[in-house]
């Protein structure tokens, strides 16, 4: 069991022939992901990495019954690629592109909201169901199958957590990197709701960071009686206020969005918050122990 993707997921890669598109398609194939098609306008009819390439997503879906888009195109084309995936009624689209203009994403998000497509990203590492399928950048060797769900904003901290959990013997169901942009698809709350329904997931690790209030919104959900233990981590606790820390959208305004406000909200809601990734791994072990004794 898992959320969003599994061994039956059929992936179409939008931007498959690019340098990064090629590299990560190969990595995904090496992980076992069933990449069934690529889309590059004007390259329809060719083959790349053993996969048929189409001019449009609609063509690819008709020919291959793909049900998940992996979008790895330059920033000016990302929003359009997302809309194209939504128009083709793909259940899931994962956009890893960094640097998408925010107005583009506001429009794309409005289209997603009116569609049946779930979006992950942009500016995210994608997601991975351990041992079955990965769509995105998460390194192939870090995850191992198990019962911990992971959801994180930062890509690299997603990897850190997965690796830490794996090394401590706590395998994962699915790890989702939702991305750090201000306007994105699935949020912490959305992914937590999916994990709540997934029988194989026994605990959830949530890795947040300063900026925005998505962690607070997730805390609200947890506070209403979330059915599984949640172990959280918030990065950026020492970031000076008012300094924008890279692309993560980690900018602090007023009292909202500080590390402390997030930690307080999560703690009050019943989640346990670790100080370091090592802490988080340890706390998960404790929770799973408690949990498995029931």
């Amino acid at each position: 069991m898992s959320i969003l993707i599994d061994r039956y997921t059929r992936v179409v890669v939008q931007g498959i022939t690019g340098r990064e598109g090629s590299f990560h398609t190969e990595q995904m194939q090496a992980y076992g992901t069933d990449v069934v098609a690529g889309v590059v306008p004007g390259r329809g009819g060719s083959t790349h990495l053993g996969v048929p390439v189409f001019d449009t997503v609609a063509d690819a879906v008709t020919a291959t019954a793909a049900d998940c888009a992996f979008i790895i195109v330059p920033p000016p084309f990302a929003a359009d690629a997302i809309m194209e995936a939504a128009a083709a009624r793909l259940p899931l689209a994962v956009c890893v592109t960094e640097g998408v203009p925010v107005h583009d994403m506001i429009r794309a998000r409005a289209v997603i909201d009116g569609s049946s497509t779930k979006l992950i990203g942009p500016n995210c590492p994608g997601l991975l169901t351990a041992g079955e399928c990965k769509v995105g950048f998460i390194p192939n060797h870090v995850a191992r199958p198990g019962s911990v769900g992971v959801v994180a904003r930062s890509g690299t901290l997603t990897y850190e957590v997965i690796q830490g959990l794996s090394q401590a013997g706590h395998g994962q169901t699915t790890a989702v990197g939702i991305g750090g942009d201000p306007v994105l698809g699935l949020t912490f709350r959305d992914v937590l709701e999916l994990f709540a329904e997934d029988k194989a997931t026994r605990a959830v690790v949530m890795v947040g960071e300063i900026g925005g209030s998505d962690e607070e919104s997730a805390a609200e959900l947890i506070g209403k009686g979330y059915p599984k233990p949640v172990v959280a981590f918030i990065s950026g606790r020492t970031a000076p206020p008012g300094k924008r820390m890279g692309h993560a959208g980690a900018i602090i305004s007023g009292n909202r969005g500080t590390a402390q406000s997030k930690i307080d909200a999560l703690t009050a809601a019943g989640a346990v918050v670790g100080d370091t990734i090592e802490d988080v791994v340890r706390l998960v072990g404790e929770r799973l122990g408690v949990h498995s004794q029931r």
């Binding site: 990064e20 990595q27 920033p75 890893v96 960094e98 640097g99 998408v100 203009p101 925010v102 107005h103 583009d104 994403m105 506001i106 429009r107 998000r109 409005a110 590492p125 950048f137 998460i138 390194p139 192939n140 870090v142 994180a152 930062s154 890509g155 690299t156 901290l157 997603t158 990897y159 850190e160 690796q163 750090g180 201000p182 306007v183 994105l184 960071e209 300063i210 925005g212 209030s213 998505d214 919104s217 990065s235 950026g236 606790r237 020492t238 970031a239 000076p240 300094k243 924008r244 820390m245 890279g246 692309h247 993560a248 959208g249 980690a250 007023g254 100080d275 370091t276 990734i277 090592e278």
Partner: protein
């Protein structure tokens, strides 16, 4: 990218929003000429920060001579670290009321939010806290934009809260419809994350005039607005090349790096904002003080890593560097190659602690090992190590680390 007041107003005027007549002056003489043309004017410092009025950056003058003198004074100022490169000389308005009208990004709603308030000229966040009934908000559909009826609803809600405006709310609502639609189109076409008129003046004659303007362009969309960026650069970089911004950050921008300058002594480099933020947290938790935030981003190649090391080490306060890499899109071999090149070409002698894991970590480790470098400790341990190696050092080069090991002794034998 924050535009200067005059740039914002020029954008407003071009779009059809009324603004006071004004001229830009880069010298006292130009200010004098502007005052001769316009009469009584306010001479306003053009800097990308608020609070210039309190700092003495605005003067109202009656004669061209006064304009010259005040412009000379203001152009010599430095406001919150920003040298004043130009002044905007602007005619006054016959103000009856001041209201607020702005559009900004609402992260929680994943949309732009349109804010209208009868309380203008003030900090809107403070108004929102103390007088929430004075604020009306609208989250327009991004494709449709705000419809006339939506703007009227917004206007009636905001203006009814102000007794002096309630009576003329109908006329004001009608006048606000095209103004707000124009402002929304502008925020859209300029990729503005903030597009604000505060105060929006209602003149004695009943006209709406933008008395101040704030426009901040989305950094991800700067490639669509190179002209505005060029204009901004012309007005913020002096003959001396100074911009008022942190010189290290200016240099980092020139080098295309995502860098934030901090006050400590441990250089921090990582791939991914979250990881670098965590690196800073770990350094601080270990008792050290980070000197910077530097994210080499996803998919960074060897030359980027070298560039980053060079950048971090240009700060003389830096006593050592912690490189924290978890390869996803970034590949270990590329990073290793960058570190090796940097060590050789930059003749680095300060301590470096490298922690590397993730995609192609095997290849990366092999490269580093072949070059005599040993990576591979955990992030927490690496943080402790770099702090240990730099804490006692009082700047300059620690004597113990000037040997022939190319600056990488800490890594030895720690895997």
């Amino acid at each position: 990218m924050k535009l200067l007041e005059y740039q914002a107003k020029q954008q407003f005027a071009k779009a059809g929003i009324a603004t006071p007549a004004g001229r830009l002056a880069r010298t006292a003489e130009e200010a004098e000429a502007a005052a001769r043309e316009l009469g009584r004017v306010a001479v306003k410092a053009q800097v990308p920060v608020g609070g210039r009025g309190k700092a003495g950056g605005i003067a109202v003058v009656d004669t061209p001579e006064q304009a010259r003198a005040e412009a000379a004074r203001i152009l010599a100022m430095d406001i919150k670290g920003f040298p004043v490169r130009s002044v905007w000389c602007e005619t006054g308005l016959d103000v009856a009321h001041e209201i607020y009208c702005g559009i900004t990004l609402d992260r929680d709603r994943r949309r732009m939010v349109l804010i209208l308030s009868g309380a203008g000229g003030m900090d809107i966040e403070q108004v929102a806290e103390t007088q929430p009934e004075m604020i009306a908000k609208l989250w327009p559909d991004p494709f449709r934009g705000p419809q006339a009826y939506e703007i009227r609803q917004l206007a009636f809600t905001a203006l009814r809260a102000v007794p002096a405006l309630a009576e003329r709310a109908g006329k004001l609502a009608a006048a606000l419809v095209p103004l707000v639609q124009t402002l929304h189109r502008l925020s859209d076409s300029l990729d503005a994350v903030t597009c604000e008129i505060n105060p929006l003046v209602i003149t004695a004659a009943g006209d709406l005039v933008a008395a101040d303007g704030k426009l901040e362009i989305d950094e991800n969309a700067e490639y669509r607005h190179r002209d505005l960026a060029a204009e901004l650069a012309r007005d913020s970089v002096g003959d001396d090349g100074a911009t008022g911004e942190d010189p290290y950050e200016v240099e980092a921008k020139r080098r295309g790096l995502t860098y934030v300058h901090l006050d400590g002594y441990v250089g921090c480099i990582g791939n991914g904002a979250g990881l670098v933020m965590n690196t800073l947290d770990l350094v601080k938790a270990a008792g050290g003080e980070p000197a910077n935030f530097l994210d080499i981003g996803g998919g960074a190649r060897a030359d980027v890593v070298r560039n980053a090391l060079d950048m971090v080490l240009s700060d003389p306060n830096v006593r050592g560097v912690f490189i924290n890499i978890f390869g996803g899109i970034t590949r270990g071999d590329e990073v290793a190659r960058g570190i090796i090149e940097a060590r050789d070409e930059l003749h680095i002698t300060k301590p470096l602690v490298v922690r590397m894991t993730g995609t192609r970590e095997e290849e990366g480790r092999k490269l580093l090992q072949e070059a005599g470098i040993v990576p591979g400790i955990s992030a927490v341990e690496a943080a402790r190590k770099i702090v240990e190696l730099t804490r006692g050092v009082q700047g300059g080069v620690p004597p113990a680390l000037t040997g022939g090991q190319g600056g990488f002794p800490p890594e030895k034998g720690e895997d």
